[in-house]
């Protein structure tokens, strides 16, 4: 059946839903296409990191969005488990074909967002081989239900920053903007829950951003031991049993230093999600050197009529996505009103 919609939003994460909500309230016919079977993308799976004080991580904006979904219903129609197969330009609209059906649309919004860098790919940092190595995002995902029970037994924990970002060698020469903030919030949660735990943080530069940057500065100064130094390899203390402590080896020019930890948390950065790479290829959108879709300002992309919002054009946090969604839906309204898409 051939349906024609005003807007097709690809990806139902935080930015996709807020653009859909923005345009739906303006009376446009919106269709949201979601690749897997749950709505929400990366941000919905993260947990609120408040202790008795809020650390303004932005997850309550996600709760607000869930609340809106429940009380005002879904903005437009939702198609789950459908991937986009081909898109052809047709007149001043688009003809989109998915596995099951095809439909027309006047504009397309790419909101496929970002996903955490798979920690296994971090060279010799032992994720997956040693039990005590966690990824920051896994800890965050369990925060809502289980809390930090997994770290109850540890006395010395190390946080390693910039895992998978800020390295020009691997064509990821950008700062993911979120990992320093979420790592410091996790440290605050750990120290709040287990006050006698000793936490060291190995980093290049601390990016203290957002509303509560002074609180983050206080956390960095008082709650954590800072080392401006990234470790080279993680090993097991040889000859000991299964859960023996881990060893961080540092290649200094003069000497090799080692320090022992019960657990290591890799603060993984953010990379373009597989959906973003796949859509960029299918829609032939120009990408920047790091694989994000290029944003020519206000959400416009190289192809007229196709817009990009949120994490798809650059790593950002929840508040950034919502701010960007408002800007993009504004540009779409203006371009629709002027008739040229």
């Amino acid at each position: 059946m051939q349906l024609s919609h005003d807007i097709v939003v690809i990806g139902s994460g935080v930015s996709g839903l807020s653009v859909a909500r923005g345009l739906y309230n303006q009376g446009l016919d919106v269709l949201v296409v979601e690749r897997n079977d749950t709505v929400g993308g990366t941000a919905w799976s993260l947990g609120c990191k408040a202790t008795h004080e809020c650390l303004s991580c932005g997850i309550c904006r996600v709760v607000e969005q869930k609340r809106e979904l429940e009380s005002q219903g879904f903005p437009g129609t939702l198609k789950k488990n459908t991937g986009i197969s081909t898109v052809e330009r047709e007149g001043n609209g688009f003809f989109i074909k998915t596995e099951k059906e095809e439909f027309r649309a006047r504009c397309i919004v790419v909101a496929t967002g970002i996903e955490p860098y798979p920690a296994e790919q971090a060279a010799n940092l032992g994720f997956g081989t040693y039990p005590g190595v966690f990824s920051g995002i896994d800890l965050e995902r369990e925060l809502n239900e289980k809390g930090l029970e997994a770290c109850a037994a540890f006395e010395r924990v190390a946080f390693i920053q910039c895992v998978g970002s800020r390295s020009f060698k691997e064509k990821r020469g950008y700062c993911s903007q979120v990992c320093c903030c979420y790592a410091l919030r996790l440290c605050e949660n750990l120290k709040y829950r287990f006050p006698e735990m000793q936490i060291d943080m190995y980093y290049m530069d601390l990016q203290l951003l957002g509303e509560k940057k002074d609180t983050l500065k206080r956390i960095a100064r008082e709650r954590v031991e800072l080392f401006r130094h990234l470790p080279f390899r993680i090993e097991r203390v040889d000859g000991e049993d299964e859960i023996s402590p881990l060893l961080l080896r540092f290649e200094d020019p003069e000497k090799v230093t080692r320090s022992r930890y019960d657990a290591v948390v890799l603060s993984v950065g953010m990379i373009p999600s597989s959906g973003t790479r796949d859509i960029a290829r299918k829609l032939q959108l120009t990408q920047d050197t790091n694989g994000f879709i290029k944003n020519l300002g206000g959400g416009k992309t190289s192809a007229p009529g196709i817009f990009v919002t949120g994490g798809a054009w650059g790593p950002t946090d929840v508040q950034g996505c919502l701010r960007d969604a408002a800007v993009t839906s504004e540009t779409i309204l203006v371009s629709l009103r002027e008739g040229k898409t």
């Binding site: 609120c48 809020c54 809390g147 930090l148």
Partner: protein, 124 residues
């Protein structure tokens, strides 16, 4: 052991309901009450509930500085501390426990209930 859970409209009440959906420990009977904001709960109301057979009151609300009514949680914390001090002076082993949550964060509530159960076992 009976616990009365008073949850604030925006964060505490949905979070307590979600915790109970997951099923809480058997020897705990939780009676859920919803209020528009934790700031509504007076000390005399807390003491009145404790006169019944409830041995703990769990106040679940928004974090201290991100309450939807700006100072609701701060009021609740001050009042809970005052009631606990009163109960201490009167050598009564009932307590008011606070948990700061957002709508789908259930771990602080589970922790608080677990602490109540441990404390009760330690006392009896």
């Amino acid at each position: 052991m009976k616990v009365v859970a008073i949850g604030c409209d925006k964060s505490g009440y949905p979070a307590v309901l979600r915790t109970l959906e997951g099923g809480c420990t058997p020897q705990l009977e939780v009676d859920v009450r919803g209020v528009s904001c934790l700031g509504v709960v007076r000390e005399s109301l807390l003491l009145e509930i404790l006169e019944g057979d409830a041995s703990y009151i769990l106040l679940a609300g928004c974090p201290l500085d991100s309450c939807h009514n700006l100072e609701g949680s701060r009021f609740a914390k001050a009042r809970a501390e005052r009631v606990n001090a009163l109960l201490d002076e009167a050598e009564v082993d009932k307590r008011v426990v606070l948990a700061f949550v957002t709508a789908d964060k259930t771990s602080p509530i589970r922790d608080a209930l677990a602490r109540c159960v441990d404390e009760k076992d330690r006392v009896t």
